[in-house]
Amino acid sequence: MKKYIITILLFAVTFSAGATDTERNNYDDIDGYFKAAEENDSPNINYFYISKAMLTMAGNSAYNGSDVNLKTFTDKIDFMRSVEIVSNKSDDDRLLLKNAERLATDVYAEYDYKNLLTTSKEGLRSYLFYKYGEGGLCSVLVVTTLKKAHPETGKIELSYARVLLIGGTFRAEDIPTLINL
């Protein structure tokens, strides 16, 4: 009896530990990427998540000086999530930078996002993706990366990335209107 219990416990402990892939250990999908960024303590990574409740309160807040009609937009947004990596000094920074670039490829190839816009100039590349879900839901994913030459080695490398995900019940073509463009 004791042997059976110990065997079960050993199996449980073994299966609960997962092997990590150093290449993609913090990214297996969009949520995984944001989660990895959220849990990262690097000072070069800026992460935020804003829920529907907070968006609604922000829209009603007394903040002035905004170019955006927040209240109009916050009615349609369900959440906003952002990661910004401003350096490539540490291994964590470089991994998130690399995965941000990979995300831009994967959302198009694997997650059925459509490319609304791509701009590229002097190493600064931006992608604007969107995807419609059931019930009129829409996700807009913005991926921006910057590649520039390393000051010492001269090698072109990723030095900045921003990933912004907005979800809600709006149409992708409403975005320019909503941000007063």
Binding site: M1, Y4, I5, I8, L9, A12, V13, F15, S16, F34, K35, E38, Y47, F48, Y49, I50, S51, A53, M54, L55, M57, A58, G59, N60, S61, A62, Y63, S66, D67, V68, L70, F73, T74, M80, R81, S82, L117, T118, T119, K121, S126, L128, V142, T144, R162, L164, I166, I175, P176, I179, L181
Partner: protein, 165 residues
């Protein structure tokens, strides 16, 4: 042996167990003379209360009791094993559930005040606007280039047509 003789022997303490049983039987089941009838109740009260169990019956009873006791003991041990096994399986299942239970937690709000959130929302929209603006500028550049190409192409065609004319 006569009933009177049995009674005499009984009073004298000389009867065997079998004789006493016989005497009891006769007193209960057979017609008795009047004088013995008067003594019947007294004699029945004095005679031993029950028949002695046969030796085989005692042994059989003992065996039955032992068997019942053993069955009860086995059943008790079986119940104890079952409870032990069930509780072990339940404990292991709870442990596995705790380890493998999927977590579906919603992400937590980063900002504690709506004003702070509003600042970042505006910044995010500014970033989005800059991307769309760059896209529009690129389109204008491309459109401009196309106009130049179109104009050049148009002039060339015009020249060719004029030449052909």
């Amino acid at each position: 042996m006569e009933t009177r003789e049995l009674i005499e022997n009984f009073y004298d303490g000389c009867t065997t167990a079998a004789e006493e049983n016989e005497l009891r039987r006769r007193l209960c089941n057979e017609p008795l003379p009047a004088d013995i009838e008067r003594e019947k109740e007294l004699l029945l009260a004095m005679l031993p209360a029950a028949e002695a169990a046969p030796a085989q019956l005692a042994e059989r009873l003992s065996q039955l009791i032992d068997a019942a006791s053993e069955r009860e003991e086995k059943s008790r041990r079986k119940r104890v094993r079952l409870y032990t096994w069930s509780s072990s399986v339940a404990a292991a299942a709870v442990l596995l559930l705790c380890l493998f239970a999927p977590t579906t937690q919603q992400p937590r709000d980063t900002f504690s005040t709506p004003e702070e959130a509003a600042v970042h929302i505006n910044e995010a929209f500014a970033h989005l606007a800059s991307i769309i603006g760059r896209g529009a500028e690129s389109q204008r550049e491309v459109a401009g280039h196309l106009n130049i190409i179109g104009a050049a192409t148009g002039n060339s065609i015009h020249s060719i047509v004029k030449f052909q004319e």
